[in-house]
């Protein structure tokens, strides 16, 4: 009747296709047959005949595979956080950057970029670390500003978020103008896209995004209940303030890690929960895990476009998500006006 296809199976299938496409397509043309040969050779510890210099192997295992893993985690984290925030703030325009993560990360990154770090492991971690801390600090400031007694009302959070975001953006702009040579570099970072390659960024974000995702799964039912207001939610057994803090903490950790290593990628956190909500409804127990799958798929697919549409130029993926997100969202808006999905 209504649920002909299991949504999880369908989304998992889409994700699998997206993962395969992401590995298959890139600047270097690797025929599918060669791809299989390289992968099976790797299992045997040998080198494939069609890959004498090991070039394909390098491209596959040092570039594409880790990049795919990173985009998968980042996409899942962003969409899951977006879904949770839409539930938390009961606002369809909520995205993971609502309370200052992006602007805080941007400020941290731009500030770190104005310093010349030594070419060491720590030095290479400096900018992502600064971005991460900037993001977390911004949200912390927002949360403290928005506190009313023991609770954090959502309207205060949004307002405080606006204040802190404007401040961070202004400060970033000031730093960018003053650091002349790094202006372009900062802009590229802010447009979204992973600047580091290999497995290091994947390992760096993995703990935060995984933990964040687990917590976000647990706030699914509480978010459902909280749609009825704080009072009724409390009477139904939900520790409302604690759920708010947990959701914000989980979403912030996830998004901060994502932004630190993948830059500011917009629209994924906003559009994915929406599309899924239109198809399968707003039950957060389902919406959040489906958003993980959907967000990963969307980012993997837009990443393929970003890397191939103007090859060998690699367009920052944040540009592609915005370009694809805007008309999509417009279409969704028109379609949903008749339906009451909120």
């Amino acid at each position: 009747m209504k649920k002909v296809l299991n949504p999880f199976l369908l989304c998992a299938l889409v994700l699998l296709i997206a993962m395969i496409l992401n590995i298959m397509i890139g600047s270097a043309a690797i025929p599918l047959k060669t791809l299989f040969e390289v992968i099976s050779a790797a299992f045997g510890g040998t080198r494939a005949a069609s890959d004498p210099n090991g070039t394909f192997s390098t491209i596959l295992f040092s570039l594409r595979l880790p990049h795919m893993a990173l985009m998968l985690l980042v996409g899942a984290g962003l969409a899951g956080s977006g879904a949770a925030y839409q539930g938390l703030f009961r606002n369809p325009l909520a995205d993971p950057y609502l309370i200052g993560v992006a602007s805080g990360a941007g400020l941290g990154a731009v500030a770190a970029m104005s310093i010349h770090w030594p070419f060491t492991t720590l030095g290479l971690m400096a900018i992502p670390l600064a971005a991460f801390f900037g993001a977390v600090a911004a949200v912390a400031v927002v949360s403290l500003m928005a506190r009313v007694g023991k609770t954090i009302p959502t309207t205060s959070l949004i307002l405080a978020g606006v204040v802190v975001s404007s401040f961070c953006t202004a400060l970033s702009s000031l730093l960018m103008i003053n650091s002349s040579g790094d202006l372009r570099r900062a802009l590229v970072w802010l447009l979204g896209g992973a600047t580091q390659t290999g497995w290091a960024p994947v390992l760096a974000v993995l703990p935060y995004i995984l933990i964040g995702m687990v917590i976000l799964l647990a706030v699914g039912n509480p978010l459902n209940v909280m749609q009825f207001g704080d009072e009724q939610a409390s009477q139904l057994g939900i520790p409302v303030t604690r759920v708010r803090w947990l959701t914000i903490a989980a979403a912030t950790l996830t998004t901060a890690a994502a932004v630190a290593y993948a830059g500011v990628i917009g629209f994924v956190g906003l559009v994915v929960p929406h599309i899924l909500r239109l198809i399968w409804g707003g039950d957060y127990r389902k919406l959040i895990p489906l958003s993980f799958l959907g967000g990963a798929s969307l980012l993997l697919l837009t990443d393929v476009v970003a890397r191939s549409i103007m090859a060998p130029q690699e367009v920052p993926v944040g540009i592609i998500t915005s370009l694809m997100g805007a008309p999509f969202f417009l279409w969704l808006l028109r379609r949903s006006r008749s339906q009451n999905y909120w």
Partner: protein, 262 residues
């Protein structure tokens, strides 16, 4: 037993409940009446643990309500609020299912027994027929019954209702009060609950309650059997309108009505 002892509570600086004491025992339907602003909703909020108490204590089965966490409280006390501004995107069944929250695992998934409990509660409240309809398509009465079903699946010994009949048609007011009375006096072998219902309509209180508590300006003026409390002498000055007690000669049913002069 739910024991409210000399509580004072309010919002910010304003004291709404001033030295209220009340006992609720299973097997009793207590009607809470009083003029607007007397503190009926506030008292219900206080019992459900939402309000910090300036003074006094509320104990449920021997434990201070504020020593329990939200989950534990929700397994003891369920509240049926007024059916207003319900989020539109829920189906009827989904609304009722939310009442199982205190018993669900961390992923919030319903088990088969949860589903059975929901079926039962919806059958009890005659809401099964619109299970899959969206809440905003339902009438006020249907929504109110849903909220009752939601409270029922919480399976709590104590049930509080905050003016559940205020915007219902007469027939639904009666049927709701009948249901609520049956919860305190079950005929099907279920354990009797303690029910506190804030009502506006004095005659509903007269007809269905085991005891009536009259709340005026944050204080329980009197609490006792309906006939003792619902007397024109007491109520006329409180409601500022002359009242009379009328008896139907045919069946002895009593009603309290305002005296209207022409």
């Amino acid at each position: 037993m739910l024991k409210i002892t000399h509580i004072k509570a309010g919002y910010d600086q304003r004291l709404v409940l001033d030295n209220v004491s009340l006992d609720l025992d299973p097997g009793q339907l207590v009607a809470l009446i009083g003029p607007n602003g007397a503190g009926k909703s506030t008292l219900i909020r206080a019992i459900s643990g939402l309000l910090p108490l300036h003074q006094g204590v509320i104990e449920v089965d021997g434990k201070d309500v504020h020593s329990l966490n939200e989950n534990q409280r929700a397994q003891k006390i369920a509240v049926v609020p007024q059916a207003r501004n319900l989020p539109p995107a829920f189906t009827a069944r989904e609304v009722v299912a939310l009442g199982r929250t205190p018993y669900l695992n961390w992923l919030g998934l319903l088990s088969d027994s949860d589903e059975k409990i929901i079926d039962q509660a919806m059958a009890q409240t005659d809401t099964l027929e619109f299970s899959s309809r969206l809440v905003n398509e339902l009438s006020g009465g249907e929504q109110q019954r849903l909220l009752l079903a939601r409270a029922l699946v919480q399976q709590t010994p104590y049930l509080l209702l905050d003016e559940p009949t205020s915007h219902l048609d007469l027939q639904f007011q009666i049927s709701l009060m009948e249901r609520v009375h049956r919860l305190a006096h079950p005929t099907n072998g279920d354990s009797p609950r303690a029910v506190l219902a804030a009502v506006h309509d004095l005659n509903l209180a007269l007809e269905f309650a085991d005891r009536v508590a009259l709340l005026v300006k944050g204080q329980v003026l009197i609490c006792g059997e309906p006939a003792e409390v619902l007397k024109p002498e007491i109520l006329s000055s409180i409601y500022n309108v002359p009242l009379a007690l009328l008896r139907d000669p045919n069946n002895g049913q009593v009603a309290i009505l305002p005296k209207v002069h022409h």
